[in-house]
């Protein structure tokens, strides 16, 4: 380190405060061509847009030397096999949601969302400053990948229901297309969770094969047309107070990168996170407005339903903690962190947002 610093200082000695031609000392970085497999289709310009931005920016930052070509879900591997493709070196990078792999280990869920967990800001704080990154890095060692936070949806909606949910009893026997962990929790309350790929949800909901389905939020949901066949649009999606994305990089490919390229990947992934949260926030309001104008019945889950789900979540998490040491290791860092984050975010953020919401309700914003 010291030696390197000396060399740099010596080499830069002739440089004035403005542009000078590069001395021969530090020759160019290597040219690289990588492939990225995404879990998302090209039709979603938010999630897939994040993959495109990532690849374009890595190229721009390296003056075109480090090229990563993005492939959508199904082009190289199916969307739910992105992690495997990175592990086995089929591609160097994957853009995905970590919780697609909870079938391997429920611990993956921490990198995307935990039901009644952190919101997006809180997740960023946990991952960047609260030990989250390090805790997950240790977990990922067993999978031969490096994971980096990349992209996020913000708090999601609770989904589309053909019938109104008035009481906890209305959940009994409900056939609900919902992600893995939430499905497991809702099972405690009698819900029959369904796993159905995005493209098949609409016909299932239309025919009544399922009673309800959740996806992301207004901007993405509108495109899938659920509002035409299931009029009740509930919030919040308590299983995803945030839905963070993850970039996986094959460990060997990562280790072979020059340090500058490693930083290029990390910094770009952080930019994508900011960009994607902003893109969802930018697109959701108008989509929500259009949906409501089309007759959608927008309503909050009844408090008693949320409380029952909250209790069921604690029950399931405690069961997992008792039998999964890897989950417990992250949980023991994550849970007190969540508590501290809610302690704080109720105050200035919550106070500000709450007042603005009331002024909006009064027609003053």
């Amino acid at each position: 380190m010291q030696r390197r610093k000396f060399l740099k200082t010596a080499g830069a000695g002739a440089a004035a405060a403005t542009t000078v031609a590069a001395p021969a000392l530090a020759q160019g970085q290597p040219e690289l061509k990588w492939r990225l497999a995404s879990s998302f289709p090209k039709s979603l310009d938010t999630l897939w847009g994040g993959a495109e931005l990532f690849c374009r920016r890595v190229s721009e930052l390296t003056d075109g030397k480090f090229k990563i070509q993005p492939f959508a879900s199904g082009e190289i591997v199916p969307g739910f096999q992105v992690l495997d493709a990175v592990q086995n070196g089929t591609v160097e990078v994957g853009q995905t949601a970590a919780y697609y792999y909870i079938g391997k280990d429920i611990t993956f869920t921490f990198d995307t969302a935990v039901p009644f967990g952190l919101n997006s800001r809180q997740h960023v704080a946990w991952w960047m400053h609260g030990g989250g990154r390090e805790a997950m890095a240790e977990f990922y060692k067993d999978y031969g990948v490096v994971g980096h936070m990349m992209g996020g949806t913000g708090a999601q909606m609770g989904g589309w229901f053909r019938k109104e949910i008035k009481t906890v009893d209305d959940l009994k026997g409900l056939k609900f297309r919902v992600g893995g962990f939430a499905g497991q929790i809702l099972g405690k309350l009698g819900v029959i969770a369904q796993q159905i790929p995005g493209g098949e949800i609409y016909p299932a909901l239309e025919k009544g094969t399922i009673d309800a389905a959740e996806w992301v939020g207004p901007y993405d949901d509108e495109r899938l047309g659920f509002y035409k066949v299931a009029p009740y649009y509930y919030y919040p999606g308590w299983w995803e107070g945030t839905g963070m994305g993850t970039a996986y990089i094959n460990q060997k490919a990562w280790d072979g990168l020059p340090p500058a390229y490693q930083k290029v990947i990390e910094t770009t992934a952080d930019e994508v996170t900011l960009w994607m949260l902003g893109k969802y926030d930018n697109g959701n309001p108008a989509a929500l407005r259009r949906l409501v104008a089309a007759g959608v019945k927008l309503q909050p889950f009844p408090t008693a339903v949320l409380e029952a789900c909250f209790n069921a979540t604690n029950e399931v998490c405690n069961e997992i903690v008792a039998k999964n040491a890897k989950f417990k290791k992250v949980w023991d860092i994550w849970k007190p962190y969540r508590s501290e984050q809610v302690l704080w975010s109720r105050i200035a953020e919550g106070g500000f947002d709450g007042f603005m919401a009331r002024m909006y309700g009064a027609g003053k914003v």
Copy 2:
């Protein structure tokens, strides 16, 4: 574009999917040395930490070729003269808060905070996707600088008060150390706004020369010791639902950069934004806990006070719109955007955060 693509493809033809030595085609980027003047002191590891991260990362991403050395407030120029130093080329980059320059034009405030304005997520959406960046770029043309969002505090606290604020009348004659725009608004309600540099606030508050003072939030405020002399800690800081930072770059210096270095600056600034918001969110909870343990009386501004301030804000903004065309130009984009953002953020984000806050209050989180 087509030609460049052809050249790149031809040049990379010999490259396999893994690392190869760089061909002679794209030789190295120039070595550069720049200076950054910050508005913030080294004692604040959040704000100043952002300047350090920015400079370190730019160097890392360019393999040490593009070096920017950060200087704290007062080292090259005083904290409030950073924009001027960038304009006149004393330094190439400044890290500051745009609203320090509302004395030149109130329009600067849009890049930091507007009272009862956007929260941090909403500001990011506006700046990156809602036309904010472009609107401000046009405004900055007259100043010979390029501005890029960099860093942010999150929603701030309402400050430290020696006496309780029970009614709007309690604001009359109150000597309050508060930022420029909020001071102007509070003047409508009888407050005597004071402009006092950070280091002089404590003695003024202790002696009773002023009755109240605001800074940022628990993490920064604790270090300045205000809680020892003004026990009432109010929230929210309605004048800063976010407090975004800005990096200014001298236009000529910017124009002389290779495109890759321009992107390095932008992408790094975005990473700093994510990092700094996370750092504040990470540090605030424990600081707030310590302050409350030390006897601080944490309480929300009374609703009637917030409403009076909200009305005064609208009054002042309307006065400015009527006489400042540059302000009006941004306001006309920004105001409807705020409305749409609040429309949406009440739903999934607000529904989720509100429920978690209630569970926290019930001792369940």
